[in-house]
Symmetry: C2
Subunit: 344 residues, 2 copies
DNA sequence: CTGAAAGCGCTAACAC
DNA sequence: GTGTTAGCGCTTTCAG
């Protein structure tokens, strides 16, 4: 047994020495460079494998100025299905590609976001997936412009591909669903217009009202997406004489459902309710809630793919994926919580 | 303007040159070494700040053999509250400490787990938080023994501190709650004993039955924690003549709640139901479900703290945190889904 | 096709 | 206290 430094991990120099080749050749073989004789390459790879060699990602990334050792995943929260489901799927797909995902929570605070972005850049991330905070800083945009970025859920107006739920259509459809049932006094609870998806959803609602020939001036509350806000704002809306409540936002929906229940109104007779998010949870309610269902896993798959494509493109010098929005269409799943209004 | 390489980021050599000191001094000042004159240190830090210097974490970690640039977070899933809530809080706390969290999903597959662990080690992580997969490999244990580890939710029998929900007590309490209401035909739906928390919960159930003076041979199904399994297994259990169903597991609870509803039994008159997880969701059900509530944020705080303490200890050479389990006590929140059995 | 050697940006001995 | 210098483990010109 050679006098290797004890218990230390095996590196390229070890492999090179043991095989009687240079570290350059080892490196090339391991990185699949075509500039090495196939048989040699194979021998090196086999040996590396048998020695349980695992490249030091730090050294690799530090040396090769371009490397996909790490990518960033920057989101405002992760303890909500809209984010956790996507984080899960992205982590899976990126890991399959051999890149590690650094998870970062901004709590929707632009300052934190910028700080974390800086730290990520300091970690030489190859690129990142981001749900920008509501008011992204200019400096943030500047940083984002310098590396492959895929936007998720929210857009910040930067030149980058993004993956979003096509909420406009879903919201329009939801309004039309309610209108078709005979509702004319519809209230809307959503997220602020400053949030790109808040704006999109609101647009969908307005369009739905227009298509249904209803008064566009419906009772409306736009609040930051938390359960508490959802509950409180829904309670206010329900104090009015609306016959239907449409909610655009997952956390808001949980709060709104609670408020609807607390209001004592019978559903759907005295109140029709359309919520947003994961139908499995809302199916627990009695009656089960009509839900706008978003395919988070599909969103994640597209985001991961786009990011990997961007990295490939940058590496190969080929054109990057088109920066346009990539939309995933949610589905309105009618359930027991929507029906004709009882009294008009 | 000096002929700096254009648009490149500023590094220690730049700072050193600009201040007329050596890179060593810069490094020392930036790392708060006491071996540098305070006024010089301050000047360096101020300059670094003004130049927007951010240290390259890769170089730092590669050079300093010990560094807390990265920590790993290795969990089987993240799209379930038990994991996403904890991931969120840990990411927050670790980020506040300046370390980045690499998120890794094992899908409860021991092979994947090992592969990912190897990759994490190759990234020179300072330590990690892990929820071991059901059957962790020996090689996995060996790797884990070499770095600061904090176990979460599940234990794998390694010598490391761990943070767990004290489910034994909660399950015992749940059984006693049901027994006190007059139930004697209680069924249990939980996770397999091979999972450490499955075993713990089952032990709690058995103890509860014993304390209540009930027959320990209750109808029981132990299945992998997914919603589908929960629904199917609950349906089977409900086909029997039990008057109460106790569920030990968050995803199982969602499925079980669905199955209970599908069974058509009136709750709580014809069936008392105790679920596990986030009360906010289960409050949507009608009646609201009696829930074993786990403080995930508290779990996360403890896990993060323990990990940081372990890192500090290793750095300072002081003793590591005691490897014993650190328990967070869940609360049984009685709600409308549990009541006296109607017919016996 | 392969090897020698020069870094990547930082920290840590070791001198002064 | 501070500077010089040698790496950390890998990739990558540049020669051959």
């Amino acid at each position: 047994m050679p006098a290797r430094s004890r218990r230390s991990t095996v590196g390229v120099v070890d492999l090179a020495r043991e095989l009687g080749v240079s570290t350059a050749t080892v490196s090339r073989a391991l990185n699949g460079s075509p500039a090495v004789r196939p048989e040699v390459a194979e021998r090196i790879r086999a040996h590396a494998e048998s020695r349980g060699y695992v490249a030091n990602r730090l050294a690799r990334a530090l040396s090769a100025h371009t490397s996909r050792a790490f990518v960033g995943f920057v989101i405002p929260y992760v303890d909500t299905p809209a984010y956790s489901a996507v984080a899960a799927e992205c982590a899976r797909l990126l890991s399959a590609d051999g890149t590690q995902m650094i998870l970062t929570i901004t709590e929707n605070d632009p300052e934190r976001e910028l700080r974390q972005l800086r730290e990520l850049v300091a970690s030489r991330i190859a690129g990142l997936v981001i749900s920008p905070s509501t008011y992204a800083l200019d400096e943030t945009r500047r940083l984002l412009a310098e590396l492959p970025v895929v936007e998720l859920h929210r857009a910040s107006g930067i030149e980058a591909p993004g993956v979003f739920s096509d909420d406009e259509q879903a919201m329009t459809e939801s309004v039309l669903h309610l209108a078709a049932l005979g509702h004319s006094r519809i209230a809307y609870l959503g997220t602020p217009e400053a949030l790109s998806n808040g704006a999109v959803r609101l647009r969908g609602v307005r369009r739905g009202l227009e298509l249904a020939g209803l008064d566009p001036a419906v009772p409306m509350r736009l609040v930051e997406p938390t359960r508490e806000n959802g509950r409180d704002a829904a309670a206010e809306l329900l104090a009015g004489d609306t016959t239907a409540l449409l909610v655009g936002g997952g956390s808001l929906s949980v709060g709104a459902a609670a408020a609807a229940r607390a209001s004592g109104r019978r559903i759907p007779d005295e109140l029709s309710l359309v919520v947003y998010g994961d139908p499995a949870w809302f199916a627990l309610a009695d009656p089960p809630l009509t839900t706008v269902q978003v395919e988070y896993a599909e969103l994640a798959r597209r985001a991961a793919r786009l990011l990997l494509d961007s990295l490939d493109a940058r590496h190969a010098g080929t054109p990057a994926p088109e920066p346009g929005p990539h939309l995933v269409t949610p589905r309105l799943r009618p359930a027991g919580s929507t029906g004709p209004p009882l009294h008009r």
